[in-house]
Every structure is written in C-alpha cells, then in structure tokens.
C-alpha cells in the first residue's frame, strides 16, 4: 500500500510547482491556498507512511536497471520533516510575502525545492540523487536571491557559485564511481564495493563525494556560503534552508552513502567526528559576536549541524540515534527561531539586535516563540533540544570520548549565553520609544509559530521508551545495518 504512494511525494509538489505560475492572479490568490494544501497533503501522506517500508520501481524496470524509489523508517522520517516544515513555512509565507512581488513564482520554486528534497530522501540511485539534489539546490539559489535587494542578489550569487562547486564535486564523484564499478544503483554499488578490494580510485571518489556533501551541509571548512545565504532569504525560506535543506541534501545523503554504501570505516568515522567537532565549536564562537538576528541563527545552524555530524561520526547505535533525534529537533527549533526572527523583521523592518528592545510587551506570541526556540536550542529541559543533546553527550561518553562530551557541554553553555543575549536585547528589557506603536504579527504567522512551538514540546516525548523504539530506533537501525542488500525491501 505504502509503495504505491511513493511517486506522489514527487508528483504532488512538482506538479503544483509547475501549475501555480500558470494560474495567474486573482482575488482569492490560488497560489497560497494550493501551496498550503499541497504541503498539508504531503504531511498527511508522510505521516501515513511513517515507519513503514516499501519500494517503487519507476517505469516498472527491474531493480539494478531502472531507478528505484524506496521507503524505509529513515526516509519516511525525512519526508515527514520536509512536509511538516513545508506546511509551516507556506502558512507563514502568506503574509510574509506582502512586500514581495512574484508570489506565484515564489511558491513554484518553494514547491520544486520540496520535490527535490523528497526525491533525495527516496531515491536509491546515485545519479538520480544528484538530479534531485540539483533541483532542490537551484530552486534554493533563486529563493535566496528572491527579494532582489542588492545584498540578497550578492548572497544568492555567492551561494550558487559555492554550492554549485559542491554539486560538481558530487558529479565528478559519481563519474569516478561509474568508471570503477559500472553502476549507479546504490544497493548494487554497495554489493560491488564490498566484494572489490579498496582501491585508490574508490577513495578518490569518496573524497569527491564527501567534499560535495560537506559543502551542501555547511560543515565548517566548507561553510562560507551559509552565513550569507540564510539571512538573505525571505524568513520562511531561511527556515526551510536551515531547518531541512542542509540536512536533507547534506547530512542525510552523506550518512546514507557512508553507512549504507561505503560501510563506514573507523577512519571515515574519525573524519566525520573531527568535522563535526570543528563545526560545533567554530559555529558557536562565530555566532557570539553577531548583532544580526538571522546571521547569528545561521552560525548556530553550523554549530548544531556539527552536533549531528559528531553523533553520526561516533558510529555507535546510541550515537546514530542521538544524531537522528537531534536532526529532527533542530528542524523544529531552528525553523521556529528563523520564523520568529522573520516575524520581528516583518513588523520592525530590522534584524539588528541593538535596535530592538522590549518587544515582549508588544509582540507576546513572537516573543514566546523565540523564547521556546532559544531554550530548546540551548538544551534547557523539558524542551526537545535538551534530550537529544543529552543523548549525544551520553553517546560520546559511551564511545570513550570524554573530551568531545565535555566540548559538547561547553558549546551548549555558550549557545545558552548567546541566546540569552538575544532575549535580553530584543524581547525583554524596557520598550524603546520607536517600537511603542508595534502590533503582533497577523494570524497566519502566529499559527505557524504555534504549530512549531507545539512541535518543540511534543518532540521531547520521542525520548519515551515506546515512541523511541518506533520512530528513532527503527531509523537508526537503517544506518546501523551497514550496506543495503541488493534484493531486499530497502
């Protein structure tokens, strides 16, 4: 049953994406409605498939010849995150786009980006993965430059060049893989890799793929595009970029290849561990000095991505589970933070923390949303961020890496300090005179903030024994199982 649904994850967003620009303008604004309905439908579908497995052969071609779309607990978790954030972001967009032109083009790009990410989550073909990755990436370049202000264009150009370089590394990696093993079907490739002795060429392909996906994920030596691109985009797009795009295209694809195809060796694990620790510490240090609200959030994204990469790099079942859990949580609280920063910018027109002050009195919902997000990212119980960070620290200790566990604790404290500064500067304290006439954001924005706040609270329940086995351990088992079997259901 769930297998026959798989093509719809691509057809719904891609179909709507091409349909919306054709509809033209009218008073009821079909673009808003269709985008919200489409992402809502995707969310319903993905919740239905959550935890299930299934396989769809595109065009009916058998396994190694045709492209296979496959569902497993990890992909279905990614699909749910993409659709959930997509719904919140598209509800938020309804009013956030008031100052922009080209509403239907915005939704078109937005839905194509979702289609690309869904494709990356589902496909079992390396070249097909590249195609979907480019679909999502190119849509996101256009979305970053969407408001067409001088600085946004510049950020968009920089993002397109650097991320495009990442894509070329990935394409070269695929070419080298095909040159050596004559296949791009992931299960078949995994099988051939396991049989063949490790050669220099295959390590070369691994380095190319690793560099490409690290650029997409924004891990620290490859992070230069991220702090420009995330603040430049419209708020709902920043929420999508930071909440899910860097994970779906970067970390998820990387983890899928490293664990399920290349069968993670200890050396690779250490490399991932090092990149993760570097991003975790470097990201937070760079974030502390920032006065631009969204730019600071972007640096914190690098830091939190570092936590996830670190947990994956441990390679232990507990580490992988903690990494997946933190990935889910980060999607919820970081998009909440970006949307609340967008709400502040919508009313005040500035992102400079020094200009804000005392907004709590005028914008209670936005202020509550940002407080929930801040406490969650800083790891304060009982919010979701606390539990996943705790699990990551446990996993570090269990793997005998006490130094990294201590670093994770210190970074967490620095994160708390950085967000307390934001709360004090923007939301608490005396209300500045120029903000006395401020109003709370419109209802549709409040609605998506409420949805994400609820998600931040509800996701902490995932740590409970019954739910943990069903959602997190099943997804972790996919990565822990090693290379994917060629004929199996995966």
């Amino acid at each position: 049953m769930s297998s026959s649904l798989l093509p719809y994850f691509l057809m719904i967003p891609a179909g709507l994406g091409f349909l919306i620009p054709l509809l033209g303008r009218s008073r009821i604004r079909p673009a808003d409605t269709l985008a919200a309905l489409g992402t809502g439908l995707l969310l319903a579908l993905s919740l239905f498939t959550l935890g299930k497995t299934g396989k769809h052969l595109v065009g009916g071609w058998p396994q190694p010849i045709g492209i296979t779309l496959a569902l497993d607990p990890l992909s279905s978790l990614m699909l749910t995150l993409i659709a959930g954030l997509g719904l919140c972001a598209s509800i938020f967009s309804i009013r956030a786009l008031d100052r922009h032109t080209g509403r239907s083009h915005y939704y078109s790009l937005f839905l194509l980006m979702i289609a690309g990410m869904n494709g990356v989550a589902l496909t079992r073909d390396l070249f097909n993965l590249y195609v979907f990755l480019e679909l999502a990436s190119i849509s996101s370049y256009a979305l970053v430059a969407f408001s067409a202000e001088a600085e946004d264009l510049e950020a968009g150009f920089k993002y397109a060049i650097l991320s495009g370089l990442g894509s070329i590394f990935i394409l070269l990696g695929i070419a080298v893989v095909y040159l050596c093993y004559g296949t791009v079907n992931l299960p078949q490739l995994a099988e051939r890799l396991a049989l063949a002795p490790a050669g220099e060429l295959i390590n070369f392909s691994l380095i190319l793929l690793l560099a490409g996906f690290c650029i997409k994920a924004g891990l620290i030596p490859f992070h230069f595009w991220l702090p420009d691109a995330h603040p430049a985009a419209p708020a709902p797009v920043s929420a999508m970029l930071s909440g899910i795009l860097i994970k779906a295209l970067g970390l998820y694809a990387l983890a899928r290849l490293l664990f399920n195809v290349y069968d993670l060796s200890p050396g690779l694990g250490r490399l991932l561990l090092g990149l993760g620790a570097l991003s975790m510490i470097g990201g937070v240090l760079l974030a502390i000095g920032q006065n631009d609200f969204k730019r600071m959030l972007a640096y914190h994204s690098i830091s939190q991505i570092g936590y996830i990469a670190l947990a994956f790099g441990l390679g232990t079942p507990l580490g992988i589970m903690a990494g997946i859990y933190h990935l889910v949580n980060h999607a919820a609280f970081k998009s909440l933070l970006f949307l609340s920063a967008g709400a502040v910018e919508y009313r005040t027109g500035t992102r400079d923390l020094n200009e804000l002050g005392g907004l709590r009195a005028r914008m209670p919902v936005t202020s509550a949303a940002s407080l929930v997000g801040s406490l969650s990212i800083a790891g304060v119980p009982p919010l979701n961020g606390f539990f996943s960070k705790l699990l990551i620290i446990f996993a570090c200790v269990q793997a005998g890496r006490q130094g990294l566990a201590a670093a994770a604790v210190i970074v967490s404290i620095l994160t708390l300090a950085s967000f307390m500064k934001v709360q004090r500067a923007a939301f608490f304290g005396p209300l500045k005179d120029k903000w006395t006439g401020l109003k709370e954001v419109p209802f549709s924005m409040q609605l998506s903030l409420f949805l994400l706040m609820a998600a931040c609270l509800a996701l902490s329940l995932l740590v409970l024994p019954g739910l943990r086995e069903q959602f997190l351990n099943s997804a972790q088992a996919v990565l822990s199982a090693g290379i994917m079997p060629a004929g199996g259901s995966r």
């Binding site: 480019e134 001088a150 600085e151 510049e154 150009f157 495009g164 370089l165 095909y178």
Partner: protein, 116 residues
C-alpha cells in the same frame, strides 16, 4: 590515459578561474568549464575503443549490440547534466545582470558588502 589527464587539466583551469577571478562573468565561465570537465569524465567512463554509436539497428541482436557499442548510460546522464548546467548558467547570468544594474560593475571586489 591522456584523456583523463586532459580532463584533469580542464578541471584545474575551471577551479583556478573560480578561485582567482574577480569578474562575475568570468566566474560564470569558470563554472561552465568545471561542468564541462565533469561531463567529459562521464562520457570517457562510457567510452570504448572502436565502439559503435549506441543505436540498436533493426534486427540486430541485443547481445551483439552490447559487445560492440559504447555505453549509452553515461551519455544519457550527460544530457541531464547539461540541462541542469544550463539552468544554473541562466540563473547565475540573471543574478549577475541584476547585480550590474544595482552596482554598475561586474567586479566582486567593488560590490562586496557582505562580511565573509
């Protein structure tokens, strides 16, 4: 073997251009050169000495065809990759034009306002 060396050279030229050039248009050209290098590597991966074009003739045996023809799969991939490259090229050109309207120059040194 020489073909791989030439592809490497092309890739190096593209990468050098991307890292050293300060003109937006030259950056876009470097990006295209890099794409060409990746596409050529894919084509080279499917190449075979004295291979025939991968078009199956009427009445030709499939096994015999597979023995004589070059590998058609990378060629299909390159077609897709060219289309993707074109999309990226158009987007970059459009952004560069808008930047030119904003600043009146293509030099990234003069238009850089963002902090790294």
């Amino acid at each position: 073997m020489i073909i791989y060396f030439l592809i490497l050279l092309l890739f190096a030229v593209g990468l050098y251009g991307l890292l050293s050039q300060r003109n937006l248009v030259k950056l876009i050209i470097s990006m295209s050169i890099l794409e060409c290098a990746a596409d050529l590597l894919l084509i080279a991966a499917g190449w075979r000495a004295n291979g025939s074009a991968p078009v199956i003739a009427a009445g030709q045996d499939a096994g015999q065809f597979a023995l004589s023809s070059v590998d058609p799969l990378p060629q299909a991939m390159v077609l897709v990759s060219i289309a993707i490259g074109l999309a990226l090229l158009l987007l970059l050109t459009a952004i560069a034009l808008r930047l030119y309207h904003e600043y009146g120059t293509y030099d990234i040194g003069e238009i850089r306002r963002l902090r790294g």
